[in-house]
């Protein structure tokens, strides 16, 4: 993994984590970078980012999408995972636990708007997940993020978590994979995309599925990923496969190719964080804990 040292060095030196250089610090890249740095033993740098997330947390527990925008709060789940990643570190602080508690309360109090089921859509629109923006529909990716946060905080058995699990499986396409969250519209099955499929599979790691959709999603990613896959999609795709013990043998080579392209282009901290996480393979800290499955009771 020749690329990893470079990626980690650049990531550890990032004072601002964002989607593209020059933009304000954003929650998702900051949280992913913190998780990656904790996992690679760069605790001091990771803690600095975790502290930034605390600074960005709103009084209601949500964390806005970037340093300048207090809403929407769809990236709050990533912050929970970042603070959670500090738990076995010497830099652990009680403030991280307080941040988690407050954020989880906001997550559990937030839900997508209910939508009447119609003949036009093939998925169950009455299932409750999480929206991108408060007051709108539940969508696949924010639901996966928050479901992941609940599973990592021993709340995999909470009713909201169980419904999120059902929603995610329901939004998987019959033919394999998923997209932003629509399945069939006006009788046509829509196309799958790599990034949401990877995130969805990551969130569903270890879950039992009698529909066969998870297996077909894995098959879709196996068929779609290659050394040419773009960085974010590649990383989410590989993390999703790792969550199901289905990493392809070529994954390190593919990551190296993606890293080379990212480092040659804008080397955004978002991409660097994802590369550092995906490089951990089966040890990626975002993979759901083995004990956080269906039978896990919710904590009070």
């Amino acid at each position: 993994m020749d690329y990893l040292d470079t990626v980690l060095r650049r990531l550890a030196a990032s004072d601002l984590c964002n989607y593209h250089p020059g933009l304000p610090a954003a929650t998702e890249p900051t949280a992913l970078a913190a998780i990656a740095l904790f996992a690679h033993g760069r605790d001091t740098q990771a803690a600095r980012l975790a502290d930034r997330l605390l600074e960005m947390q709103n009084r209601d527990g949500s964390v806005g999408v970037d340093r300048l925008d207090q809403t929407p709060g769809w990236a709050t789940g990533w912050s929970v995972l970042a603070w959670r990643a500090s738990q076995s570190s010497p830099v652990f602080r009680i403030e991280y636990v307080q941040g988690i508690d407050l954020a989880l309360q906001w997550i559990l109090d937030t839900q997508g708007a209910l939508v009447e089921q119609t003949d036009e859509t093939g998925h169950d629109t009455t299932m409750l997940g999480w929206p991108w923006v408060d007051g709108t529909h539940s969508w696949l990716e924010p639901t996966a993020m928050n479901y992941l946060a609940l599973r990592h905080t021993n709340r995999g058995g909470h009713p909201r978590a169980r419904e999120a699990q059902r929603l995610l499986v329901n939004r998987l396409l019959q033919s394999g994979g998923c997209n932003y969250g629509n399945t069939v519209v006006f009788g046509q099955e829509l196309r799958p995309h790599v990034q949401p499929t990877g995130l969805c599979l990551l969130a569903l790691g270890g879950e039992q599925d009698t529909t066969g959709r998870i297996g077909r999603a894995i098959d879709y990613l196996h068929g779609e990923l290659s050394d040419r896959t773009t960085t974010a999609s590649m990383c989410y795709g590989l993390m999703g496969l790792a969550a199901h013990d289905a990493l392809p043998a070529e994954s390190d080579d593919w990551l190296q190719a993606a890293a080379g392209r990212s480092l040659a282009r804008d080397a955004s901290s978002y991409h660097l964080a994802l590369l550092a996480l995906a490089a951990l393979g089966n040890d990626c800290p975002l993979l759901p804990p083995k004990t956080a499955g269906r039978s896990q009771p919710a904590l009070p």
Partner: protein, 344 residues
């Protein structure tokens, strides 16, 4: 255009009005008509240029230059100014080139504006995918941008500014626009010519949904759906800097657009300095009645002319290139065709 008005603390989702999702534009008309600055364009005419027999490997820059000049565009006005080219890259996939704007058209437009001394940037916020790099690669746009040394602005993840809603067909107080959009002196809407299973067809006006940042509005930009699709199309266009339109109608889409439709080769480039007039002309070419299209009902005589009598046709007469675009059979799409014979 930017105002001192404080932006709302949230992105202002509205209560879902299902009728608004389908058609429902009429109720907003009265309020829109009262917007003072919009009255200035009522009954003004606008030029629309139609070029046929166009190919992606043809002299597209010449066609676009001819079209802009024929419709009254003043090249001196963009010298030293910032021009943002906005293609449609909603959900690119190599097997469906009829869904998204072909890179050749974007590069040709950039050549035209650069020749006129403009500072050109290409920008898009793909509506259905968070991995913008994927959208650029799958569409072939990344390679084209690299070859032409054209910078790209990821409008889903940008520094944002707040702009007051100048249309007020929705109840949104304003929009969080990317700075590249706010600071542009000219926005060039570069849509694909295609059908749309909710509103009939879309063109230059709807394409500007793509300037709305996903980081604030989601993927898809669901806040706008809640506000009402036709109404938000109107409001976004009413709130943007000056726009012109260059439509990729070479390989168009019919049927279950805007994503799953079939390819319909048309060989057309359509250009105009008024997006409403351009979209009305697109509709006539596709054998729709533009006066029945929900967002054009709102835009008519407010953002620009829809009536044929107020649109100066340049290049090929639209009747000579008209061809019926098939639609899916859905209630919201009935009644969008003109009554009686359209093409003579």
């Amino acid at each position: 255009m930017t105002t001192a008005t404080a932006p709302p603390t949230q992105t202002e989702p509205q209560g879902l009005d299902r009728r608004a999702l389908l058609i429902g534009a009429g109720a907003a008309l009265a309020g829109v008509a009262a917007v003072p600055w919009l009255r200035g364009v009522m009954h003004d005419s606008a030029g629309v240029f139609v070029a046929r027999n166009q190919r992606y490997d043809g002299p597209l820059a010449q066609t676009i230059r001819d079209g802009l000049l024929a419709t009254g565009f003043e090249p001196a006005g963009v010298r030293g100014r910032r021009v943002l080219l906005k293609p449609n890259l909603v959900e690119p996939v190599r097997s469906c080139p009829q869904m998204t704007t072909n890179p050749a058209v974007v590069v040709a437009a950039a050549e035209v504006f650069r020749d006129w001394g403009a500072d050109v940037v290409v920008g898009e916020g793909p509506g259905h995918m968070r991995d913008t790099e994927w959208a650029l690669v799958e569409s072939g746009m990344q390679e084209a941008l690299d070859d032409a040394k054209l910078p790209f602005a990821d409008l889903n993840y940008s520094q944002l500014g707040w702009v007051e809603n100048q249309g007020r067909a929705t109840t949104l107080r304003g929009f969080h626009f990317p700075q590249q959009v706010i600071e542009a002196d000219l926005i060039v809407s570069m849509p694909k010519m295609k059908t749309h299973h909710w509103v009939g067809y879309t063109g230059a006006l709807k394409n500007l949904y793509g300037v709305i940042p996903g980081i604030k509005y989601g993927w898809p930009k669901n806040v706008l759906h809640y506000a009402g699709i036709p109404q938000s199309i109107f409001d976004i266009n009413a709130s943007l800097p000056k726009t012109v339109a260059i439509v990729d109608g070479i390989l168009a889409m019919e049927g279950d657009g805007p994503i799953m439709g079939s390819a319909k080769p048309m060989g057309l480039i359509v250009v105009g300095t008024n997006s409403t007039a351009v979209d009305a002309t697109l509709g006539r070419i596709m054998e729709f009645d533009p006066a029945q299209i929900s967002y054009l009902k709102l835009a008519a005589d407010r953002l620009g002319p829809v009536g044929e009598a107020f649109i100066e046709q340049r290049g090929e007469p639209w009747r000579e290139v008209a061809s019926r675009f098939e639609l899916i059979d859905a209630p919201q799409l009935r009644g969008l065709r003109p009554r009686g014979a359209l093409v003579t």
